[in-house]
């Protein structure tokens, strides 16, 4: 295990005390892309900050490549690359200089630093912007520079905190490609996100976190399969009484695994059975069926099933 988090707790003093991380245990395998998925304030950033030596835990420990990061922060930083939520590029330096100096901080000779910087600019398609200042870059480009800089000293693990927050869809896809490319270089990636598409698309394994606790941890496919349904029907009802009485009548239908109430109607978890949809519609019709949405299970569904809330609340 390249990253091992054991019984991690972080309590911020205050009135009342805030428990940001509440006993997290996690293991990340070498070479995988691991996602921490959860809503804002779930404890993702705090967990990442402790892993990257920028915050101290109240208890528990984090091992990276076998090294305790709390006990040996300065040494561990050699194995860690970080891209925080906000842009921390050196505004007084160009893109080239940002990466070059980063290499020097990590003990590269000038010649090695120059070679490594050129190589990274090439890899991240930044060569043309080498002389630009960080202020002149778009959000997506700045994020790519930050990743290039974070891996410049060849760390074993790269931590990305909400990497695509604030990026437009195109930049997000370019970012995902860049992150996937890191795998081929053997870099383990740990990222936090509150975009379920990002976790689903990019991560080999995902841990869902809420209120400082890990709720579940598995591959996106296994997590979605755990919902136990091939299709989800969202029924929007005119008659609010139907929300209460409809689930019982739907629950007896063949191929329906679960029915639950929502704010505007009911949600039906269904197996792919022929004729089931028309059956559901017929049953719901007397209750003033206004609208029907059919979706496949997503990580969002998993989160809702676990917490009763939506991810983006």
């Amino acid at each position: 295990m390249i990253v091992q988090i054991e019984h991690l707790r972080k309590v911020y003093d205050g009135k009342p005390d805030v428990v940001a991380v509440d006993g997290i245990d996690l293991s990340v395998r070498e070479g995988e892309i691991f996602g921490l998925l959860g809503p804002n304030g779930a404890g993702k950033t705090t967990t990442i900050s402790i892993c990257t030596t920028r915050a101290l835990p109240s208890s528990g420990r984090v091992l990276i490549a076998g090294m305790d990061v709390v006990a040996h922060p300065a040494i561990s930083r050699r194995e860690i690359g970080v891209v925080p939520q906000y842009n921390t590029l050196d505004r007084a330096c160009t893109i080239f200089e940002n990466i070059h100096f980063h290499c020097l901080y990590f003990g590269f000779s000038r010649a090695d630093a120059t070679a490594r910087t050129r190589e990274l600019l090439e890899q991240f398609h930044l060569t043309e912007r080498a002389g630009a200042r960080p202020q002149q870059l778009s959000g997506g480009l700045a994020q790519r520079v930050q990743i290039a800089r974070a891996i410049a000293h060849r760390p074993k693990v790269l931590f990305l905190d909400e990497p695509s927050a604030g990026l437009d869809p195109q930049s997000r896809i370019a970012l995902w490609d860049a992150v996937r490319a890191l795998r081929s270089q053997g870099i383990t990636v740990v990222l936090t996100t509150h975009y379920m598409e990002e976790a689903d698309e990019l991560c080999e394994r995902v841990a869902i976190i809420d209120h400082g606790k890990i709720l579940v941890e598995d591959t996106p496919a296994a997590l979605k399969a755990s919902v136990g349904a091939g299709k989800i029907y969202e029924l929007d009802l005119h008659d609010q009484k139907g929300r209460v009485s409809l689930p019982a009548s739907l629950g007896v239908l063949d191929g329906i695994t679960a029915v639950e109430q929502t704010d505007t109607g009911v949600r039906v978890f269904a197996q792919p059975v022929d004729g089931l949809l028309s059956e559901v519609v017929r049953t719901a019709d007397p209750f003033g069926l206004r609208d029907l949405t059919i979706t496949e299970p997503s990580l969002e569904t998993v989160f809702i099933r676990l917490t009763g809330r939506e991810l983006r609340e």
């Binding site: 705090t46 900050s49 990257t52 030596t53 920028r54 915050a55 101290l56 076998g66 090294m67 305790d68 006990a71 040996h72 922060p73 300065a74 040494i75 930083r77 050699r78 860690i80 970080v82 925080p84 906000y86 842009n87 921390t88 590029l89 050196d90 505004r91 007084a92 330096c93 200089e97 100096f101 980063h102 020097l104 901080y105 990590f106 003990g107 800089r149």
Partner: protein, 281 residues
Amino acid sequence: MATAVLTTSSSVTRQQQYVRAFAGLFLRDLFVLRRELLPFVIRVCMNPLLFLFVFTVIMPHMGSAAMNPTASMAGANFSTILLPGLMAVAIMFSGIAAVALPLAQEFGVTREIDDRVMCPLPVAAVAVEKIVFSALQSMIAAAIVFPMAYYVPATPVVAHVSSWPFLLTVMVLSSLVSGALGLTIGTSVKPQQIGLIFGVVVMPITFLGCVYYPWSALTHMRWLQIGVLLNPIVYMSEGLRGALTTGLPHMNNALVLIMLCVFLVLLTSLGIRGFLRRVIG
């Protein structure tokens, strides 16, 4: 077990790692300073140049004693009094400008500091690098001010170096103290309040720092003479007087060195503590 083996085997290279990271940070700062040398020189020059021009050129040319307050205050010696004083101000201002202002910005807006903290060396060393680099800027600033304060005044300046080792020691200590002061201010003040600090801290310690008058001249205002002993700028200007303008009254040299060391230790530990508090959650 693996951890223990790893740390022992890398204990020699660990020192090298720290030294290289420190050198890297210093090189980066030097590189940025070199690129922004002109604004730096202008910033350093403007304040003392205007001060010298008004008090040692314009006023002596006003003729009558009534119109020339500096003549009655310290006679022709005023330019000589100002030389070490203005150097001390330049040293102190550089500490504020090189550490406190950028830090306030980095904590408040850019968060660039978060990246510097990820360098492979103890976080306290990142803070020490800021002090050391600021000290270098202070020394350059003092070296720029010296010829100005020597040649600009209309009245002759009497200055000569009595002891080079003492001068250098005072310069180095003063510069480090000003960097440590900058670190303490930059880490203890909210970014939005950094402007206020200029009025509340920087201006008073300058005006009450025995910059424009020697400390011994305060003898008729005993309360003030004792009060200003808490001000580190006093020891910078008095120390430079002891090194450069020995003809004028100045504090005991040994006392100056001791007090500069005391302030260095105090402000450095306060500054590092503040820095750690701000960057490590």
